[in-house]
């Protein structure tokens, strides 16, 4: 999953799409749905990032001889 730029494009794309959805829903007057859409997008991206962080920490642990 890591080591290529596709995930960056993915996140940037999600960000732009979510911003668009947010704007459209706001224009339609559905403020709470707009907030909800933002929150969902945020959580999706957060999952990507947490995946990356856990991967990195596992690797650091194995490289720098942290046991337990």
């Amino acid at each position: 999953m890591l080591g290529d730029a596709s995930i960056l494009f993915q996140i940037a794309g999600i960000g732009i799409v979510v911003a668009m959805i947010h704007t459209i829903l706001k224009q339609m007057g559905k403020e709470e749905y707009a907030q909800f859409a933002s929150l969902v997008g945020f959580i999706i991206v957060l999952i990507f990032v947490i995946d990356g962080i856990s991967d990195l920490f596992q690797q650091i642990k194995s490289v720098f001889l942290f046991r337990g």
Partner: protein
């Protein structure tokens, strides 16, 4: 050529951040975070090789394994603290970043305690009672 790859990754990431930042600053921050993680993961493969060399040298020189392990752990803590502090500072919380750095320093000192003890015991051994 991995260097070119890393540099182009950084440039692509900064372009994407510039695009996304106007609409959603939080997503821009996640982009920054993931870029840092990706570069770190690429770099850590090379660090593995270097550490292999250090361990090999230690075995050849008959250095006690405990010391080399401690030194590697200290290097690891330094890397992690640096990484975390930079990330937190990017998010705009420089005071928390300073605390992370402080914690890194303290933990490094704690890890170095056995080595310091050994040094002090050696010195005391030199002094005739």
């Amino acid at each position: 050529m991995d260097m070119l790859q890393i540099v182009s990754l950084g440039i692509v990431a900064s372009l994407l951040v510039v695009v996304v930042k106007e609409q959603k600053p939080s997503f821009a921050f996640f982009l920054i975070l993931l870029t840092g993680i990706t570069i770190f993961v690429i770099v850590i493969e090379y660090i593995t090789e270097i550490i292999g060399l250090i361990e090999y040298l230690g075995v050849k020189a008959n250095v006690n394994g405990m010391y080399i392990e401690t030194i590697l752990q200290i290097i690891g803590i330094a890397y992690i603290a640096e990484f975390g502090a930079h990330m937190v500072r990017d998010a705009g919380l420089s005071s928390v970043a300073a605390k992370i750095e402080l914690a890194g320093k303290v933990l490094i000192l704690v890890l170095a305690v056995p080595i310091l003890k050994a040094v002090i015991e050696t010195i005391i051994g030199f002094i005739p009672a």
